[in-house]
């Protein structure tokens, strides 16, 4: 059994007697310690799925299990929420305190963690996102990427097992995006954290263990980055684009050149030079 199990999950949004589908009949297993990237156009159901995973939304039909616990078990909802941490898009909306270490202490304090333990966790979490030198500073002077790293650290202080980044890189500049991606990848490798990264940037999917593409609330395709981006027609159908190197390689194949499927700029350059 995976750390996350979805069984025939459907969820509808209801407003003014009109139903709009969030997700429909989703079944999914995510293994512990994997790095999963979730792609899909706006309104494809990505954020609905994220909210179903920490019990923020409960499925209309079907069940969501986190570490074997059904999110419908009301009395265990806090347990689930400490296991599944979410980081959202806007770095400015996720700070609760005016001093960084206080911001990190807020989560564990609410969980009734003893003071000594909180201090240890804050130290560890700041170190994990490489922001220790900023501990007594104020968040509002940080860059977007640094703020998102603090938001991740604030989640880490609650010792989650699953980190969900819900378009956490969308508002950042390239440097900020790189910082957040590097942090998430490191947590995945070194701390065996299960990471689910929701994004519109195809580049951020190419190093994932698994890529899941959602379209209109259903899984359009799922598998390794090579497998997923090897199906350009499905990617297009889902309103997404291929990584640039993959696109150029495809165009060259159409022109009769023998170029394999590639994802990275370096791979394309290598493959082109092999032809000479």
């Amino acid at each position: 059994m995976g750390i996350i199990e979805l069984k025939n999950v459907s969820f509808d949004y209801e407003s003014d007697n009109t139903l709009s589908r969030g997700v429909k009949n989703l079944s999914l297993t995510i293994e512990k310690g994997s790095f999963v990237v979730l792609l899909g156009h706006n309104g494809s159901g990505k954020s609905t799925l994220a909210k179903l995973l920490n019990g923020f939304l409960l499925p209309g039909e079907g069940d969501v299990f986190i570490n074997g616990i059904n999110t419908k078990e009301k009395e265990r909802i806090f347990e689930i929420r400490t296991k599944v941490g979410l980081v959202f898009q806007n770095p400015d909306n996720q700070m609760v305190a005016s001093i960084i270490e206080d911001d990190l202490a807020f989560g564990p304090e609410n969980l009734g963690v003893p003071r000594d333990e909180i201090i240890k966790r804050v130290d560890w979490a700041l170190d994990a996102v490489k922001m220790s030198e900023y501990r007594s500073g104020t968040p509002y002077k940080l860059s977007g990427g640094q703020k998102q790293r603090i938001a991740i650290a604030a989640i880490l202080a609650m010792l989650p097992e699953i980190l969900i980044l819900d378009e956490a890189t969308a508002m950042l500049d390239p440097r900020g995006r790189a910082e957040v991606m590097e942090t998430a990848k490191r947590l995945n490798k070194e701390n065996k954290m299960t990471v689910i990264h929701i994004t519109h940037y195809m580049d951020e999917a190419i190093d994932a263990d698994e890529v899941i593409v959602l379209n209109d609330g259903e899984i359009a395709i799922q598998g390794s980055p090579e497998f997923v981006f090897g199906h350009p027609e499905i990617i297009k159908e889902a309103g997404l684009e291929l990584p640039t190197a993959t696109k150029v390689a495809g165009l060259l194949r159409e022109k009769g050149f023998d170029i394999p499927l590639v994802l990275r700029d370096e791979e394309l350059a290598e493959a082109v030079c092999q032809l000479r």
Partner: protein, 285 residues
């Protein structure tokens, strides 16, 4: 000439412990008809610069002229300036506030002194221009719209007063690939209507490369490059230390160059790059 900036410097919170130099001696002239991209990492001064253009930040050093309005004058006509320079902030959908989409979009023209009839007519035109179904959305609450529709409604609010200059702060941030393309195409179509000049802040190099004829690069409050995108990517050294990355197409061309395969001509878009690679491979065979 539509915007002329000379020797513009700006410091935030002068005299306080938070004093911070944001702009240093920026001089740039933007001509009518241009589509100019402004790039730079967070904190490089991009937003400070564009906020000067419509008088949101008071000029303290240097000079700015927008058409005939001189911002060094004692009392520049800010109302006229702001009706001429439409400003779309980041995530403009958060600024929708009225009860209905029609009222929200009409708010700008009303504020600039139009009569109610004029404002409603201008709002209708703007809502249609941004590609929303007027009859369907006019009486809806802006908060009932989808994300992409909200952004369109916000753009309608800015263009309802028919600005000659449109300033956009990351207009495609947070949108999916299709949403991005739709907004960029919308900006192009506005430029064919009454908008003469577009100034666009973006982090997305691929976007700048494709849509802007000219790019300004800011780093730590200084203007470090002012050229065409192609020229900028040729001299990639100028991007060092700015926190910006090359478009993939430029990176691929550079990697091929390092391996001894040089490409000719325009290679900024994926199809152009594929053509150039094919041409270079055939040349060698």
């Amino acid at each position: 000439m539509s915007v002329e900036i000379k020797n513009l410097s700006y410091t935030y919170s002068v005299g306080s412990p938070f004093q911070k130099d944001a702009l240093h001696g920026i001089s740039v002239t933007i001509n009518e008809g241009e589509m100019v991209g402004i790039i730079g990492s967070t904190g490089s001064g991009k937003s400070t610069l564009v906020q000067h253009i419509n008088g949101l930040i008071k000029l303290t050093s240097g000079s700015i002229k927008v058409y005939d309005i001189d911002l060094t004058a004692k009392k520049p006509d800010l109302k006229r300036l702001r009706s001429m320079v439409g400003m779309l902030f980041q995530y403009p959908e958060y600024q929708l506030f009225e009860e209905t989409v029609l009222k929200d979009v009409a708010f700008g023209p009303m504020n600039f002194g139009a009569t109610k009839e004029e404002a409603l007519a201008a709002a209708e035109e703007a809502i249609r221009l941004v590609g929303l179904d007027f009859d369907e959305v006019k009486d809806k609450s802006p908060f009932e719209l989808s994300g992409g529709e909200k952004r369109r409604a916000a753009i309608a609010g800015v263009i309802a007063s028919k600005p000659k200059i449109l300033v956009l702060d990351e207009p495609t941030a947070g949108l999916d690939p299709i949403g991005k393309r739709e907004i960029l195409n919308l900006i192009l179509s506005l430029k064919k209507a009454f908008v003469k000049t577009v100034i666009m802040i973006s982090h997305n190099m691929d976007e700048i490369a494709e849509f802007c004829g000219r790019v300004l690069v800011l780093s730590e409050g200084r203007l470090i490059a002012d050229c065409t995108p192609a020229e900028l990517f040729e001299k990639e050294y100028s991007l060092e230390g700015t926190g910006l990355t090359l478009p993939h197409t430029v990176n691929i061309k550079r990697l091929l160059g390092q391996k001894g395969l040089s490409l000719k001509g325009d290679t900024l878009s994926a199809p152009a790059l594929a053509d150039a690679i094919a041409e270079a491979l055939r040349r060698r065979v």
